[in-house]
């Protein structure tokens, strides 16, 4: 707990965290309000042209709040996470390595598992805060639009798990290098590769395509986004975190033996 407190204090004691939160809130607001403006504009254009008003059946099925605003904003937010989170996680282990403070930590009574758990906890907490900040506008507007709160909760859960998944990948990349740049680039690359494997469908058999899809982040997030919370998807993200923890812990083993 002491390490968690120390890392939290260090995180929020620096302006970087606030800058990251500001950027996320600003970019989300920009994306969201731009989609909303386009949706309202399109709706008025269609209703004006058809003179059918807002009666059911007069507006094309494709023009609806969910498909035109909420869903694309959530997808953009998901992709934005892949871009933003490795920038946050890159310093978590790599910075300690550069400063040599990780060796100090190892010499204390703390086990590598506890150190890794503390780092993951702090990062997850920060990412959760980031997601809460980015979710404010879509949630407020969609709630006014009449979508059930349960569906919104499912979407938020999906975004949060996706963010934690990307953070887990970023943390592992940070744990294996002392260069923050390398940590960020490899975090982007791994998360981007794991994002979706639909590009490989043309080259592989159906069985392999299904296997790759089971590995991918986006289809898991997509199910939450559509309002389905399945145990398999929850376990997938938990398993991702577990594997990331074990890999990050292994990086300490390698340091201990000087590899």
């Amino acid at each position: 707990m002491a390490l968690v407190r120390k890392d939290l204090a260090s995180l929020f004691g620096a302006p970087t965290a606030y800058l990251a939160l500001t950027m996320i809130a600003l970019v989300t607001a920009l994306i969201f309000f731009d989609h909303l403006r386009q949706y309202n504009l399109m709706l008025f254009l269609v209703t004006t042209n058809t003179m059918g008003g807002f009666d059911f059946g007069t507006i094309p099925e494709t023009i609806n709040l969910w498909d035109r605003v909420f869903s694309p904003v959530m997808d953009s937010l998901g992709l934005m996470l892949v871009g933003a989170i490795p920038l946050i996680t890159m310093r978590v282990f790599a910075e300690e390595r550069v400063r040599g403070t990780d060796e100090l930590l190892i010499t204390t009574h703390l086990t590598p598992t506890r150190i890794v758990l503390a780092k993951f906890t702090v990062t997850y907490a920060f990412v959760a805060l980031m997601m809460a900040v980015s979710f404010v506008y879509p949630m407020a507007a969609i709630e006014q639009g009449g979508v059930g709160i349960e569906h919104l909760a499912a979407v938020f859960m999906g975004l949060l798990l996706l963010a934690w998944g990307v953070a887990s990948i970023g943390l592992v990349c940070s744990a294996f290098t002392s260069s923050q740049l390398v940590a960020a680039v490899s975090g982007w690359a791994v998360a981007f590769v794991l994002w979706d494997f639909s590009w490989a469908n043309a080259f592989v058999s159906d069985e392999i395509a299904r296997f790759l899809e089971a590995l991918a982040l986006y289809p898991r997030f997509a199910a939450f986004s559509e309002g389905i919370v399945s145990l398999a998807n929850l376990v997938y993200f938990a398993a991702l975190a577990l594997v990331a923890l074990s890999l990050a812990r292994f990086s300490f083993d390698l340091r201990r033996v000087g590899a």
Binding site: A25, A29, T62, T177, W199, A222, A232, L242, R249
Partner: protein
């Protein structure tokens, strides 16, 4: 090793970025993905070689333990995920429970002679595909359905085979294929897929005769007050529907499964009533929809069978607000169902049916062995009024002097006569089956199931999925989104930035 892995990852990153940017796998993407993959494999091989040569005897157990832990974490994760996937435990949190498969669809899928194939034609940019695919997968999880997503532009020949233009307009169209037959579903919802599956089975539920010519409900009219939706639903469920001029009917044909009479506005001719009466006497099945304010002779037809209907109106405080032009209490939201009747046993207080302007039905057994049942009743606070003028004026009908009680909206009668079974279903309202109200709440289920009961097709009695999907197609209250962005959207980032600046200034000062 690090150089190789970082280089490989960057190559993969650019290969994928190019793929997503262009929307196709060009030569740049292919080379980058291939080189990136090779570099990563080489880096992994190099890494393992290096691990093998690390340190002395003290180091190896540490590394072996670490690797074993990773392997255990991966194995545990994969095992748990596979088990969770097999368990298929999930929660549908959508407002309309769009991914919960209804009993009717499950039964229909189970009844298919061979598995059907669902081809989902997709334009990559169409966001609806994701939802439709999830829906199809939810249906496929119940068995007898294989799902395949087809790229419209990669397989135009497949689209053309099913008479679809391979363009964006065909995206999100589902083609259900069973044997050599297919059905096209352009707005895929669970309900529309269910109906298509039903049509593919080519069930033969028998021939129905619907009377016309004396002001009966128009089964060809697609207007709100028409009944084309009712007939379409009957055809979907396997019936052959034949429209007959009532005045020309001297006898009901032998092969008729049931006769449907939808609220004649004029009195039926005596010989028509006699033909219907004779039909009932020899074990016929009749479904009648009555309307208040009209004496069509159906009352006389039903009277010997123990069903009468005084020319009155039911007034029920449990009614829907259907607009200012209507008097209060006439548009009844019914939730009282006979729980032992096969038609209504699945309907409860949460499955309301709407009866806009209904007349009451009174039941009296002609013989002890006859079974007359009230199938749907109004609330216990309802009453009857003989002032039919309320149909055309606004306001609130005055409270009754007589006690309030349930009023019968739908009744069924089952009679044994000379070894033959006669069945009658009487509705105190015809609007319940009109185009305007048929798809509202549970009207369709009630009406179709009542017909199935009359025709003795009880296996077809079910609760159907809703065909329409709830979509929000109105502008959000944030009318001027740019103004809203400048007003509210900037507030949160501003506050966060101020917080960051204060922290930075304090640290500098310290």
């Amino acid at each position: 090793m690090y150089e190789l892995s970082v280089g490989g990852l960057i190559a993969l990153l650019f290969g994928l970025a190019s793929y997503y940017g262009l929307g196709e796998m060009g030569i740049f993407s292919q080379i980058n993905l291939a080189l990136g993959g090779l570099a990563l494999l080489a880096a992994m091989a190099s890494g393992f070689r290096r691990l093998g040569s690390v340190g002395g005897p003290h180091s190896r157990p540490v590394i072996a333990r670490g690797l074993a832990l990773i392997a255990a974490a991966i194995a545990l994760g994969v095992l748990a995920e596979r088990m969770a996937d097999r368990s298929d435990i999930h929660f549908d949190l959508t407002f309309e429970h769009a991914f919960e498969v209804s009993p009717a669809v499950r039964d229909t899928l189970a009844a298919l002679p061979v598995p059907a194939e669902a081809l989902l034609f997709a334009d990559g940019a169409d966001r609806r595909i994701r939802r439709t695919r999830l829906l199809l997968e939810a249906l496929a999880a119940n068995g007898n359905l294989n799902v395949r997503v087809v790229d419209l532009y990669e397989h135009p020949e497949l689209a053309e085979r099913y008479e679809l233009e391979p363009d964006a307009a065909a995206s999100n169209t589902v083609v259900l294929v069973l044997n050599n037959d297919w059905e096209i579903v352009r707005r895929p919802t669970e309900g529309s897929i269910y109906e298509a599956l039903y049509r593919l089975q080519h069930l033969e539920s028998g021939r129905l005769i619907v009377l016309r010519g004396d002001g009966e409900g128009d089964i060809e009219s697609v207007l709100d007050d028409g009944y084309s939706g009712f007939v379409t639903a009957l055809i979907t469920e396997g019936y052959e529907v034949e429209s007959r001029v009532s005045a020309a009917m001297d006898e009901v044909p032998e092969d008729t499964r049931a006769v449907i009479v939808i609220a004649p506005r004029r009195r039926l001719l005596d010989h028509t009533l006699a033909a219907l009466s004779a039909y009932l006497e020899r074990g016929g099945k009749l479904v009648v929809f009555l309307e208040p304010g009209v004496e069509s002779g159906l009352g006389e037809l039903l009277e010997p069978w123990g069903i009468s209907s005084p020319n009155e109106l039911i007034v029920d405080p449990a009614s829907a607000p259907m607009g200012k032009h209507r008097a209060e209490g006439l548009d009844i939201l019914a939730y009282g169902y006979e729980s032992h009747h096969i038609v209504t046993r699945r309907l409860g207080v949460n499955q309301v049916t709407l009866f806009p302007g209904a007349r009451p039905l009174l039941l009296r057994k002609p013989r002890v062995e006859d079974r007359l049942q009230r199938m749907v009743v109004s609330s216990a606070r309802s009453w009857r009024t003989d002032d039919l003028g309320w149909l055309d004026r606004r306001g609130r009908p005055e409270d009754p002097t007589q006690p309030r009680d349930h009023q019968t909206l739908v009744a069924t009668g089952l009679y044994q006569r000379d070894g033959k079974e006669t069945r009658i279903v009487a509705f105190g309202d015809a609007d319940v089956a009109s185009n305007r109200y048929l798809r509202a709440v549970y009207n369709l289920d009630l009406v179709l199931n009542a017909v199935h009961w009359a025709t003795e097709q009880t296996p077809l009695i079910s609760l159907r999925p809703k065909v329409l999907r709830t979509t929000i197609q109105f502008p959000l209250p944030l009318e001027n989104s740019i103004q809203a962005f400048n007003g509210v959207g900037m507030l949160l980032p501003e506050l966060l930035l101020i917080g960051g600046a204060i922290v930075w200034l304090r640290r500098r000062a310290a």
